[in-house]
Symmetry: C2
Subunit: 137 residues, 2 copies
Amino acid sequence: MNNKNKTFIDKLRSSGLRPTNQRVEISKFLFNRKKTFHFTVEELKNSMNLKRSKKISTATFYNTVHALKSAGHLKEFSLENNTSYYDTNITSHHHFFDNGKVIDIKSDKITFQKLPEAPKGKKIKNVEVVIRLENNN
Amino acid sequence: MNNKNKTFIDKLRSSGLRPTNQRVEISKFLFNRKKTFHFTVEELKNSMNLKRSKKISTATFYNTVHALKSAGHLKEFSLENNTSYYDTNITSHHHFFDNGKVIDIKSDKITFQKLPEAPKGKKIKNVEVVIRLENNN
DNA sequence: ACATACTTTAGAATAATTATAAAGTAGTTA
DNA sequence: TAACTACTTTATAATTATTCTAAAGTATGT
Ligand SMILES: [Mn+2]
Ligand SMILES: [Mn+2]
Ligand SMILES: [Zn+2]
Ligand SMILES: [Zn+2]
């Protein structure tokens, strides 16, 4: 096991999961990439299982994604279609939504001139912006 | 039929729907209020049917809400729980999300110092902010 | 090897939503 | 008004995303 595998395994261990084959493959698939990955569990399952003779079960995908999310290695978000999306970029950041396509906007690309106060008894956890796009013309 | 009913009926007609009893009641329930109403179809159905002897069917709730939404009388949005929410405030505006509770923030309460350009070939349709809240301490 | 704890998986169950098709209602025409 | 037509409501079935369950598999410690 090389050094790189270690980080995938660490994410599993810190999520309370033993690094089984299935889980390590899922973790690699999710985190072994340069760019942010936005996905649904179904998309993840289909794209990973397409290439495999021995399929990983739906339950394992859901369990693994949930554990990674609970441990803070994935963030959950929502489009307007009753499905959960997950984001490998766990920092607070913004998005372009372009007809179902999701693109990250780094946090420092948007700054505020004016923001409201939190209601009393509450404080602000984070502020995230969605910029919805449409085609020119 | 008084002047007020007319606006509920107009919303139905402009959504391509005949103003049947069921639809007029739904439209009144949605739009006959001072404050913005954020709801799921199930919530709408349960709160309206609770008071009624003759229940309105699930399909009628879904059909009516969808038609009102398509005509632009309702806006759809999503929390992180695979259910569609609807908003009687159809203007572009912002929200506080506070553990499942949704509160409107008027558009002019948030202004930007810096915003990214739209990718080429695209333009910005709208910019909406979610401020997530947590309890103090 | 045996015990124990954790894991994977197929399949059942649930929740939100959408589709279907029969029965009801309304508007129009003869 | 009777007949015709188009639209509507509803119960129910189907679908989709997700969660649950329980049996069979795997790993680890003694
Ligand atoms: Mn759904
Ligand atoms: Mn769901
Ligand atoms: Zn992102
Ligand atoms: Zn709102």
